[in-house]
């Protein structure tokens, strides 16, 4: 009834081409952002910050990055964990070498470094395709982690190879280290996520995004109509790695605060992000967010219900969570193979016509 296009007339091209052409959508998104920026910081506590909000934000950013590469450009990658490690170590080296550097710049530069590394490891994609490429990107995953574990320069020659985030400030407020207030770290991450989600949305609507999708749908055909595969594939690798690098830097600096490469950036992280985008929806910005939320929050939710609510033994619950997550993944794929975002899209289609579907 409220969710409709009729009566919402556009009188300019820019009005017609805006991201959310339906007024209701626009207002919901604006209200949601306002809520996230203005209200949530007053309600947040340590538990919500460290177990719910910041992880979801950080993983959303990683999922966004991978979705650009896999969902929009069609290049399956399992090197996400390794690229996150690049971002994390870049931010660590930058901030310990130049303690005065503004944190925004540190994080952005880490993304830049990761983008360069991403281009190098993206080169095989020009020749290798599909699952073969996925497994080939595993080479970068294992090699990068090994490198960060082996070369002492990366971890400033500390005894065990662990890196710890030093305390850093933005506008005089700590955003890393143990004394950072929950609202500050949350807002710091939220800013990055909102800004880069907007950029991603616009990138995918523009010329670059369209050339990515052309390559995804059929690269030979795209090449014939004049989309250069080299430039397009590598730009997708670069942009995707940039996002993943930023998420890695935030993951280490803001969320965890300490990391060792083998455990924090292992192969299971690469798989985790891939699960997120497939469950959320390939080629969907919104899907990256719900995919990340699903994979991060479901275990926490089940755990709290079953251990906190029902008081079952923790090991039984852990096994059951695995079964439930697995079962849910299969269930959703059977119901809607194109991810949660597609479910959402179908719901919206129905809402447009509601309550008079005929």
């Amino acid at each position: 009834m409220f969710y409709r296009e009729s009566g919402d007339f556009k009188t300019s091209y820019s009005g017609d081409q805006q991201i959310f052409p339906i007024a209701f959508d626009r207002w919901v998104v604006i209200a949601f952002c306002a809520f996230a920026f203005v209200v949530v910081p007053f309600l947040i506590n340590d538990y919500w910050e460290k177990s719910v909000l910041v992880p979801v934000l950080v993983w959303s950013l990683a999922a966004l990055g991978l979705n650009i590469l896999t969902g929009y450009c069609g290049q399956v990658s399992l090197g996400t964990g390794g690229f996150m490690a690049v971002g994390a170590y870049a931010s660590y080296k930058l901030t310990t070498s130049f303690p005065e550097m503004n944190m925004f710049i540190v994080i952005l530069l880490s993304g830049g470094v990761t983008a360069l590394v991403g281009i190098v490891f993206g080169l095989p994609s020009l020749r290798i395709k599909g699952f073969y490429l996925a497994v080939a990107t595993l080479a970068s995953q294992f090699f990068l982690v090994w490198l960060f574990n082996k070369v002492p320069w990366f971890y400033n020659y500390s005894a065990s190879g662990q890196i710890s985030a030093p305390e850093r400030f933005v506008f005089g407020i700590a955003i890393s280290g143990p004394n950072s207030p929950p609202w500050a770290t949350y807002l710091f991450c939220l800013t990055f996520v909102v800004v880069f989600a907007l950029i991603a949305k616009n990138l995918t609507r523009g010329r670059l995004g369209r050339s990515w999708m052309a390559i995804r749908d059929m690269d030979i055909a795209a090449e014939i109509i004049g989309v250069p595969p080299l430039k397009t594939k590598l730009s997708a690798f670069a942009v995707s790695s940039f996002y993943i690098g930023i998420s890695g830097a935030l993951f280490f600096m803001v969320y965890l605060g300490a990391a060792e490469p083998t455990e924090a950036f292992g192969i299971e992280k690469s798989f985790l992000v891939l699960f997120m985008i497939i469950i959320g929806g390939l080629g969907s910005i919104f899907g990256s967010f719900i995919g990340a939320a699903f994979m991060i929050l479901m275990p926490v939710l089940f755990k709290n219900i079953m251990v906190g609510g029902l008081g079952w033994p923790t090991d039984l619950v852990a096994h059951l969570i695995f079964m439930l997550i697995g079962g849910l993944i299969m269930f959703f794929l059977i119901v809607e193979p194109h991810g949660l975002a597609q479910l959402w899209r179908v719901t919206k289609e129905k809402l447009r016509l509601w309550p008079f579907p005929h």
Binding site: S51, S160, L256, E260, E263, A264, N304, D315, A318
Partner: protein, 432 residues
């Protein structure tokens, strides 16, 4: 839309469940792992930890009259889950954390210090946390990895008649922060004693170690040391047996020394050694009580089959040290209902004498432990235990001996100073 809202409400409700109100119990969170690649190691430890507190509640009505409550939280040895566990349990008045993972310990060092909650990383975690001047809330008594490395080298020297010159020692290690811990110490000791050190890294999970053991077979080092965890231990011991490496020259750290590690190799594991900081077997008085009050009444955390195994003993020992520290805190502050800050004071003033251990039914279970403001690493004593495959038991073959304090203390001072500088910590004045 309606469903989304309902779901959101359910999420919100379920998540607030995680933060219940604190009660008058003494809360001991147990960040254990009964799933994942390290579950076989995590299960007996968690069982021991929780069974000992159950025993205290059943037999003595708690600690100083206040019942203890163990708050299990499954981490799966995963750092992020560990963080979630920490945040969800700290609001319940958690007195001390026992993370049982190097990664989670490193996470909690700054966080728990800022929150004023002590962490007891018993024989693992960051070794230089033994310096209480820098790490006010982190404890790793009764011993550290560097102590372990030094004690093993000392044992080797005893075997070799005191002379290690031109001997070769190989270290097979888990290629992670944990496995890399002893390297510095072993290098320093190599300078001092003149032996050659060969380093062999094994990547997680460590199922395939053929290259490493072929290299050992070729170079025939006089001794092989191991810093392993999980499946790596079983495979390493199996491979060592396969190449017929003399097992009594193969010495593991205390985390590579459980029944789980040697049993798959069968008789071939006979003679394998490891360093230990507490006693082995179930021949202690406390086991009669555990049987009577916990296992036979069906209150045990596991199925009771783990009693007396190395890791069960270690979990129980950790619980005993925690409860004794709580008791000390109760005495210092004159109140039975202690806070994490009081618990910290209790841990720092812990003085566990042989008489007290005998009283607890743990006579000769481990060395006396005393902790003070400057030394959070405790006595740093260790003994060597050896596996008897025919009998299926471990036994201690040496007395508890100390580490080479000159070497270890210098390294601790150096590493903790680096940490203090990096994090702008002014070392506390401990009055001495």
């Amino acid at each position: 839309m309606k469903h989304t809202k309902l779901a959101a409400a359910a999420v919100a409700m379920a998540m607030t469940l995680g933060a219940n109100t604190a009660s008058a119990d003494l809360v001991f969170p147990s960040l254990d792992y009964r799933t994942g690649p390290y579950a076989p190691n995590g299960i007996p430890f968690a069982d021991g930890y929780s069974d000992y507190f159950t025993l205290l509640n059943e037999r003595d009505g708690g600690i100083g009259g206040v019942p203890a409550r163990v708050l299990p939280c499954e981490t799966g040895y995963n750092t992020e889950k560990g963080v979630e566990c920490y945040e969800s349990t700290k609001g319940e008045g958690a007195l001390v954390y026992q993370p049982l993972s190097t990664g989670i310990t490193y996470q909690l060092i700054p966080k728990a210090t800022a929150d004023g909650i002590p962490v007891h990383s018993m024989g693992y975690g960051r070794t230089s946390a033994a310096n209480g001047k820098v790490f006010s809330h982190i404890f790793n008594y009764p011993g550290t990895y560097w102590d372990a490395a030094s004690i093993i080298v000392k044992h080797i020297a005893d075997q070799e008649g005191g002379d290690l010159k031109d001997k070769t020692i190989a270290l097979v290690y888990h290629n992670s922060a944990y496995g890399k811990e002893p390297i510095r110490t072993l290098e320093e000791l190599a300078k001092k004693h003149g032996y050659n050190l060969t380093l062999l890294a094994v990547d997680h999970p460590g199922q395939e170690q053929k290259s490493q053991w072929l290299q050992i077979r070729r170079e025939r080092p006089d001794y092989v040391l191991m810093w392993g965890w999980g499946v790596m231990n079983q495979v390493a011991i199996q491979e060592a047996a396969n190449i017929r490496y003399p097992m009594d020259h193969f010495i593991g750290v205390w985390w590579s020394a459980s029944e789980n590690d040697v049993l798959p190799a069968g008789d071939a594991a006979n003679g394998y050694k490891a360093v230990a900081f507490h006693g082995v077997g179930s021949g202690f008085g406390v086991y009669d009580d555990l049987k009577k009050h916990v296992v036979d009444t069906g209150k045990a955390a596991g199925d009771g089959s783990n009693l007396g195994t190395v890791l069960y003993n270690r979990g129980m020992y950790a619980a005993m040290l925690a409860s004794e520290a709580a008791r000390t805190a109760q005495e210092i502050h004159g109140t039975a209902d202690i806070t994490p800050a009081m618990m910290r004071d209790g841990m720092e003033a812990l003085n566990l004498t042989e008489a007290r251990m005998a009283e607890l039914g743990l006579a000769n279970f481990g060395p006396e432990v005393s902790v003070d403001c400057a030394n959070h690493g405790g006595p740093g004593l260790g003994a060597i235990q050896q596996w008897d495959a025919a009998a299926g038991t471990w036994s201690l073959i040496t007395e508890f001996t100390g580490a080479d304090r000159d070497v270890v203390d210098a390294l601790i001072a150096e590493d903790s100073a680096a940490f203090a500088a990096e994090n702008n910590i002014t070392p506390r004045d401990c009055g001495a």
